[in-house]
């Protein structure tokens, strides 16, 4: 094993040194890659590596040598679905014929003009890369690898990059209402644009199947393109959604259906996203506001488990809000309230620790037929509209 280690160390040092020396010798300092100085120590010690044969003698041997004009090309802005091509020029600056073959591509790039024969020393050959921008709008980078018989550069990674824009500009892509109280109303807007003077007529309404559609108003208003956040659009509308009050508590995703005159986007959908909270809400690891339950999962009786929650009071009654634990089921479940932390006149936090202590008998406490039902912690508060908070707790306690 020791001799193996020595071989690895020696090989690492020789390999690193050879690479460093070649780099300095051949090209000097340029601005598109890195290397450390020549006097660095040996490479990492890898105890389970195969022994290496030693450094290659690439400097002396006649060999092909590949040079690419610029291995990264920027297509700039592309419309979604558009196709672009670029020709990379491969030149053999070595002394033996250069052969190319297609390697891996990262996605839907198509490489052409590869494997068309040998490139003789001093000669060049173009390699064509085609890419169809069938990806979501935003920046893209796609790579394609060309394998060569140049011993010092057996792989050349070509890349194309740029920005894909939507055929139809919509900014933002959702109506984001954020966190709001159940008694609050909120509004959000998106802008929809057309390009190249395409006429734009738009109607919008809550999608079929929406719950509480009467709680939402959807309006469409034409706006001046120059004032809208959609670059290059020649016609723009703003779609406004007003929501609430009286939305149901919990996370909410509803959809707005948008019908347009645009040939490539006659029907669009945009979600309305919100989290609706009452004056009192719970936060913490495993707390599901949708199910109204604290999920502690499977717990070993020998280890027990503890969860930290925050009881958050908001609104006009938050200042001076307090609570106490009035009931726990099972009786051995521990629930402790900490000191209230008043963050503002309208926000107070109360820490709540719920603990499954060690040493209890195995039990199933969830909503399945085989169990005794969810465990629970009942809090009494001084909030005039929500005097009790029922915290259900779900767990499986095993041996």
């Amino acid at each position: 094993m020791r001799s193996l280690l020595l071989v690895v160390l020696f090989s690492a040092a020789v390999g690193a040194g050879a690479g460093t020396w070649l780099a300095l010798l051949d090209v000097g300092e340029v601005t598109n890659d890195f290397m450390p100085s020549a006097d660095l120590a040996a490479g990492p010690v890898i105890s389970d590596a195969e022994p290496l044969a030693g450094a290659p003698s690439v400097r002396e041997a006649p060999a092909p040598r590949v040079k690419v004009d610029d291995a990264a090309y920027d297509f700039g802005t592309m419309a979604r679905g558009a196709t672009e091509t670029h020709q990379f020029v491969f030149t053999n600056v070595g002394t033996e014929p250069l052969r190319l073959e297609v390697g891996a591509t990262s996605c839907k790039c198509t490489l052409g003009n590869v494997e068309t024969g040998e490139i003789m020393p001093g000669e060049s050959s173009p390699v064509r890369l085609e890419w169809v921008a069938k990806v979501n709008p935003g920046p893209f980078r796609q790579t394609a690898t060309v394998l060569t018989n140049d011993p010092r550069q057996p792989r050349v990674e070509l890349s194309v990059e740029g920005q894909v824009t939507e055929v139809t500009g919509m900014q933002p892509r959702e109506f984001l209402l954020g966190v709001l109280g159940s008694g609050d109303a909120a509004s959000a807007s998106i802008y929809l644009g057309a390009y190249k003077d395409e006429p734009l007529e738009v109607s919008a309404q809550m999608a079929p199947g929406s719950r509480n559609p009467e709680r939402f108003q959807v309006n469409v208003t034409p706006v001046e393109p120059a004032t809208a956040p959609i670059d290059g659009a020649t016609a723009v509308v703003r779609i406004d959604v007003k929501a609430g009050p009286g939305l149901p508590l919990g996370g909410m995703t509803e959809w707005v259906e948008i019908k347009t005159s645009l040939a490539k986007a006659p029907l669009l959908q945009a979600p309305i996203l919100a989290v609706v909270q009452g004056d009192i809400s719970l936060h913490g690891r495993g707390w599901s506001k949708e199910a109204g339950v604290l999920n502690l999962g499977t717990i070993s009786a020998a280890e027990g488990k503890e969860a930290q929650l925050l009881v958050s009071f908001k609104g006009e009654h938050a200042s001076g809000a307090t609570a106490e634990v009035v009931e726990v089921d099972p009786p051995w479940l521990i629930a402790e309230l900490g000191e209230p932390k008043r963050l503002s006149d309208t926000k107070t936090h109360l820490p709540l620790t719920i603990r499954v202590p060690t040493g209890q008998k195995p039990v199933l406490r969830n909503d399945t037929a085989q169990s005794d039902g969810d465990a629970r912690v009942l809090l009494r508060t001084n909030h005039p509209e929500t005097p009790e908070v029922d915290v259900r707790v779900r767990f499986i306690l095993t041996q």
Partner: protein
Amino acid sequence: MIKLSVLLAVAVTLAGALQATGRLGVAPEGEPAHLVAPAELRPLADKYELDEEARQRLQRAYEALEAHEAKPKPDPVETNGPIFTDWPVPQAALVITGEQVGYLEPCGCAGLENQKGGLKRRHSMVKVLRDQWKWPLVMMDAGEQVRYVGPQAEIKYRYSIESLMEIGYHAVGFGPKDLRTDLLGLVINLPPDQTPLTSASIGVLGFDPDFSKRLRVVTVGEGAQAVRVAITHVMGPQALAETAPSDDLDKLSPNEALAAVLPEIAAAKADQNVLMVYGDRSEAEAIAREHDVFDWVVAGRGSDEPPSTARRIEGSRRGGGAMLVEVGHKGMYAVVVGLYRDQAAAAEGALKPGQGWLARYQKVPLDHRWADSPEMHAKLVAYQQELATLRWEGLGLKPRRHPTNEEFAGSAVCADCHTAAWEVFEKTPHFWTTETLVALNPARHLDPECISCHAVGWEPQKYYPFASGWVSHAATPHLSGNGCENCHGPAARHAAVELGDLDVDEAEETALRQALHLEVQENEGNMPGQVLGKAVDNCLQCHDLDNSPDFDFQEYWPVVKHEGMD
């Protein structure tokens, strides 16, 4: 100053030699299996209440998965290239990731050996570099762990942060989708001395330092070899505009945020300063030029994959100019920057801030050269268990009416008349897609992001059930598999009419048939030059770039081809 010069590959590499010995980072206890053990199939079938037909499909699914597992896998080094070619041990190595956007693991539908990414592989990479090679790592993530909103995204975000903590990350920034989760509920459960959450522009409850830090100063190595790296994060203007209103969060523009943290950065006098920007390249460059105190600037929002090298940010001067690093999408890559003290520069005289360092850059494909980490596998198991415990309702998934207003009947009803099509269908993997998920370790059939393409009656891209769609093996056994109605549309009314259970006039009977008719056009397909028709568009809802990157309709269609009423 960071000197730059071309690094030519040499044919023999340490990493290449190591890769020849097998997967990197295999734990002493071995790798977690992708499939359940054969002996577990029956207990699983009992647990999930599979009927006799579903048990047979489970067996077929298992055999197909086993056959795939036994196939030779492509060589990842050949496919994605060698890494760390002739790198000496760095004095410090920056490990930079970001934009995981929900991909705790690659989907696997197209074979894990063909996909990159996942926390299991990322953890193995870190263990190899840090524990085997003894590289002093400084680990950071630019943010955006999740892609969607809602309860599943919240759970996923929590598992992501806890996983990054277990891997050993020092600093983790935010993306706008991260902030749509219940961040407050998460941070109160993270030990203040261990939380890696870092941002100068996003704070929780008045930038409470127990919850997150504006700046992290990480020291690796010891004595004279110690390297100090200062890391901060800001959210770019566009991402900041995408954040949801919340009175629990504090949000500052990049300029406001950096104005507040710059004195701390100056006081830290770190060897290298890193700024993570959750924004695209142009935003990151603009911020770097405006605040010229950083050596490395990370653009967290960017292209599909990182470039092959870092780029100098024109107009910045610190240490010879800041370098831009991009991290790519979906956690498919990690970027590693090796830092080396430039002894020659040090010998020349007094160094200005940021000077005296050389660097190497490597984008690391997280492909199957890296083993699956048992620790991250355990996290994934716990994640799936939590989804299972909450079930659809607890995950906020309420069935929505199908756009056609119709209901689902199940493929077996279709088989009553369309016998030839059924004979094709039941021989294809589409027939047992639901049970495929049951046979995995851990099972994924209670994960909305998986089941939406593996059973009948879900919205495949938005991960919610339609009314009368799949619920479970116990409640809706007739809706298993990626059945007829996922392409043709819900057919309950059509079936009722054809079977004589419902009387309608001839016009409606014809209309119901016509609505389900789907015809493949001439030269229909998803490749360049082919016609993107309605049939192939249906396929692409599940056979998308993430889950089926090699999908070629004209190659796949013959396997499932069925024509005519029979």
